[in-house]
Amino acid sequence: MARSVTQQRKAINTAVAWAVGLLIFFPILWTILTSFKTEAQAINDPPLFLFFDWTLENYAVVQERSDYMRFLWNSIIIAGGSTILGIIIAVPAAWSMAFVPSKRTKDILLWMLSTKMLPAVGVLYPIYLVFIRLGLLDTRIGLVVVLMLINLPIIIWMLYTYFKEIPGEILEAARMDGATLKEEILYVLTPMAVPGIASTLLLNIILAWNEAFWTLNLTAAKAAPLTAFIASYSSPEGLFYAKLSAASTMAIAPILILGWFSQKQLVRGLTFGAVK
């Protein structure tokens, strides 16, 4: 029997959903609003919501003081590079776990996930030393590798879940049709898993884009992405909330826009396989 939903019930549900949505979005909204205030208005008590003198001054100052495009470019290379590299490694790994599992496959998956439970700072020292030795400090390639490694468990887990949904008979058919392992993955598995791969790609770009711990600790000037750009406005010259907010808005805008346009894909990907 279908559950009957009264008009009143519907209205309450809608209100609650909006309230939760606004609660989650509020910090971002507040950051964006603050970026249009003057420094004085930004720390006004009581806080000003919409009625203040809107100004673009902070953006002009931030633009003048730092090279936004260089940070943006680093972010794109680091987020994009680590995600693509991760997918190239994760596809064969997830294939073998999904289609030729061994007794230990579940354990390996859980072990990989467990690495995500380790506080990142726990391995900062060894990784820092390795980076010094290899001359990778403050290089984009170094960050690409590190971010790829820390996100790899998630990429493999997601792809594994999607691959599990693909009927094994289709891959067997490809094998009967004379496809080698490489051809089977390239021509049959990957195209069928495109929706899953796409959402994995998107989610990991977002994760890598927002990653701050490693990007702040392993870069100085040359390879610094947008997270470092934001951080550079946080403390040294005291707290300039409005400029910090402007820098933050500029840093999150690209990923926010990407997320907005791909939200359908993301939701579909994340709930893929949840229902038949």
Partner: protein, 335 residues
């Protein structure tokens, strides 16, 4: 060419022995059907031949050559799966072309073969569609098309008709039989449906729990089942089995009488009983007779015109010349 020989082939999954040592030869050009109840190992056997599963021991030879360790792609066999296993992201044309593309066949030759397969299978108008836009029967034809363009030495069919509705199944059954007559290529066909086995096969292999119960032509199996299992499995409706005193009269532990070998009348016959359910097929009527004192139910196949009602007392006369006799182990006693 496509002569397949299995030599003491076994298959174990962990400690479970699915296929005990099994010997079997499938002759070139033969239509062989593996039939048996679910879980009897018939699909596993087919997958061993295909190379999708590795044998635990024994040898598989294809045209005399040891293929035991050969990967599926190199065995020269084509397979049609129960789920059709079409590539959902490719058009019908690309699905059919896939094995040729993998074999790096020249494009003109690919096009020629696609055109001829599409014509033979009535798919010409659907070549640019995706599998999702086709009906079940059309999908099955695409799967067959994908198999025939390779010109394999043998076709393997894994319950290919079980996802189709009844009417379509009969049509596809004929199409596959015609295909076999036309191509004269070895076909190995797995089904749990004894009607498919009887109507299509040159040779039927009846399997139970991995063991081959009997190998023979459909009529061999019908006329001379080697044991009670085969006797009960082949033929529809099922053979009637009678034990006890009546069987003893024939010097047997159990006798088997097919429903079509029993005459029914309201006045005379050595056996009698009460009519239970009648199934009217038009051409025939199946009567289920109770209270005979011989078995719980005796099924009788009578002409469609014969009309007895539920509860009528009737008399039955078995044709004594075609009674099957079995010993206490269930094995056939030959005259």
């Amino acid at each position: 060419m496509g002569r397949i020989t299995l030599d003491k082939v076994t298959k174990r999954f962990g400690t479970a022995e699915v296929i005990p040592p099994l010997d079997l030869t499938i002759e070139d050009g033969e239509f062989t059907v593996f039939v048996g109840p679910s879980g009897c190992g018939k699909s596993t056997l087919l997958r061993l031949i295909a190379g999708l599963e590795d044998v635990s021991s024994g040898q598989i030879r294809i045209d005399g050559e040891d293929a035991t360790m050969t990967p599926p792609a190199k065995r020269g066999l084509a397979m049609v799966f129960q789920s059709y296993a079409l590539y959902p992201h490719m058009s019908v044309r690309k699905n059919i072309a896939f094995p040729m593309k993998m074999a790096k066949m020249p494009q003109e030759e690919q096009d020629r073969r696609i055109a001829s397969a599409a014509k033979a299978l009535n798919l010409t108008d659907y070549l640019e569609r995706r599998p999702g836009q086709l009906s079940g029967g059309q999908r099955q034809r695409v799967a067959i098309g994908r198999a025939i363009v390779r010109e394999p030495s043998a076709f393997l069919f894994d319950e290919p008709l079980s996802n189709l509705d009844a009417a379509l199944r009969v049509g596809m059954r004929l199409e596959i039989s015609e295909l076999h007559k036309r191509l004269q290529t070895t076909m190995v066909y797995v089904t749990h449906d004894q009607v498919e086995a009887m109507t299509m096969a040159d040779k039927i292999v009846v399997l139970r729990a991995g063991y081959v119960e009997q190998v023979g032509s459909p009529l061999d199996l019908y006329h001379a089942p080697q044991n009670i299992f085969v006797a009960g499995f082949i033929g529809s409706p099922k053979m009637n089995f009678i034990e006890g005193a009546e069987a003893a009269k024939y010097n047997a532990h159990t006798i088997g009488v097919r429903p079509e070998h029993i005459a029914i009348s309201d006045s005379e016959g050595p056996w009698s009983g009460v009519v239970g359910v009648s199934e009217h097929l038009g051409s025939d009527t199946f009567f289920h007779i109770h209270n005979t004192g011989l078995a719980e139910t005796i099924t009788v196949r009578a002409d469609g015109e014969v009309g007895f009602r539920h509860g009528d007392r009737v008399h039955l006369s078995p044709r004594t010349d075609v009674i099957h006799r079995f010993d206490a182990e269930g094995l056939r006693i030959n005259a």
